[in-house]
Symmetry: C2
Subunit: 246 residues, 2 copies
């Protein structure tokens, strides 16, 4: 471990924004950043966050581990590049027809889909390094909301709430799903079995009732219902503010 305590984001930002000072001497580089980031994403897709390592990325590229560090100052920068890369993969719902609510819903669902497809990305968001694609992603959310009458500053707050909700649900379901996966007798089944055997249900009557019939709707339904509630609240807020302005 001991990921270096990078107190300077400049190196990462330079890579994100494509500042590569062409070297004047020495042999040609065998690779470029794009290939490296692509390999890292592939590795994370296959092995998950646990399997993502500098050694793994290097060996997948057929180079020595130390060579990676001639392209990227540290793991922090690599993960930032990975995040900015996968954010760019799906098209942004910028100019969709419809209401601002439909557009921000599409924006939220896009993120939800990304985190569902790549749960490992949830662990890569710790250092919010603003790359060009992340910035475009953010701008697209502001544009989606732009006709609701709120100021960009107010809408930034809305976006952060929606983002927090999306990432929160994505994390909860990812953790849950990881526990359901696994060998012949899965983790989750054993967990339930122990609880059922050991816990006095009458001490937790409401939980007992909720736990019995928990088979209604998968994570997708759940995500949608929470998103609907959150955006209902946003809509009410928008109405309230516009009335106050009249």
């Amino acid at each position: 471990m001991s990921e270096r305590q990078t107190s300077d984001p400049t190196a990462a930002l330079r890579l994100l924004w494509g500042e590569h000072p062409e070297p004047r001497r020495g042999p040609r580089r065998g690779l470029d950043l794009g290939r490296i980031v692509a390999a890292a994403v592939e590795l994370a897709d296959e092995e998950g966050e646990r399997g993502l390592s500098m050694r793994g990325v290097a060996s997948r590229l057929g180079i020595g581990t130390a060579s990676l560090y001639t392209y990227v100052p540290s793991r922090t920068e690599l993960t930032a590049l990975m995040l900015d890369a996968i954010v760019a993969e799906a098209p942004l719902p910028e100019d969709l027809p419809g209401t601002w609510r439909e557009r921000i819903e599409a924006w939220a669902r896009r993120d939800w889909a990304m985190f569902r497809a790549r749960p490992w990305a949830l662990r890569l968001t710790e250092r919010p390094l603003l790359g060009p694609n992340l910035l475009a992603w953010y701008e697209s959310a502001l544009r989606a909301l732009s006709e609701n009458g709120l100021s960009p500053v107010e809408n930034a707050s809305v976006i952060e709430s929606v983002d927090a909700y999306v990432q929160g649900v994505a994390r909860l379901t990812a953790d849950q799903e990881e526990n359901r996966a696994g060998g012949d007798e899965p983790w989750d089944a054993r967990h339930r079995a122990y609880i059922a055997r050991r816990v006095d249900f009458s001490a937790y009557p409401l939980w007992a009732e909720a736990a019995v019939g928990d088979a209604l709707g998968g994570p997708a339904d759940h995500f949608e219902s929470g998103l609907r509630m959150l955006l209902d609240g946003v809509e009410a807020d928008v109405r309230r503010r516009s009335e106050r302005r009249d």
Copy 2:
């Protein structure tokens, strides 16, 4: 690294629920689980999640690292015990007077305060091992909502949405704050400086507008406004369902 792939939660659950088979032979134990968990929590409070290590906990207790493993099968179980322990520290808002909405708000704020005080706890929630305190915490949320007319199954969905939101915002602000901290010239300032120098603001007009006046309200205000919107939506949902039932 390489936290063991515990495919069996039984050991952790046994510890959480207080099943300690008294040993019949051998020397007395020098410590008990409570002391160990308390030391681990102290260490995490002081050093953060990065500084939490089995070696660190052991040396804080004045024992060898290997001895820790006679009390706890692995790090996974220790973190589960830590989470269950800190969840129990603040009183649950079970029988507060007021509406269901006021009660669930208090419940959400309690969590928010916990994650603000102990950001490291956000990284310990990966394996949702149900201990007695976590179960009581969940039951208290169901009880808070119990008078809203929804079934426990429906309310479980509401709770998960609120929980996801709380953890999501807590994580975003924790990450943000960690970046603002640090030496003389903080990370965040350098980040802004680079972006301001390098990025063409006219390509991201709304973001530019939002980024200028971002000094209105700290994370607490932001948390409250999002929570209010989410619960406005829940309230609307409750009304809708109760109308449908009439």
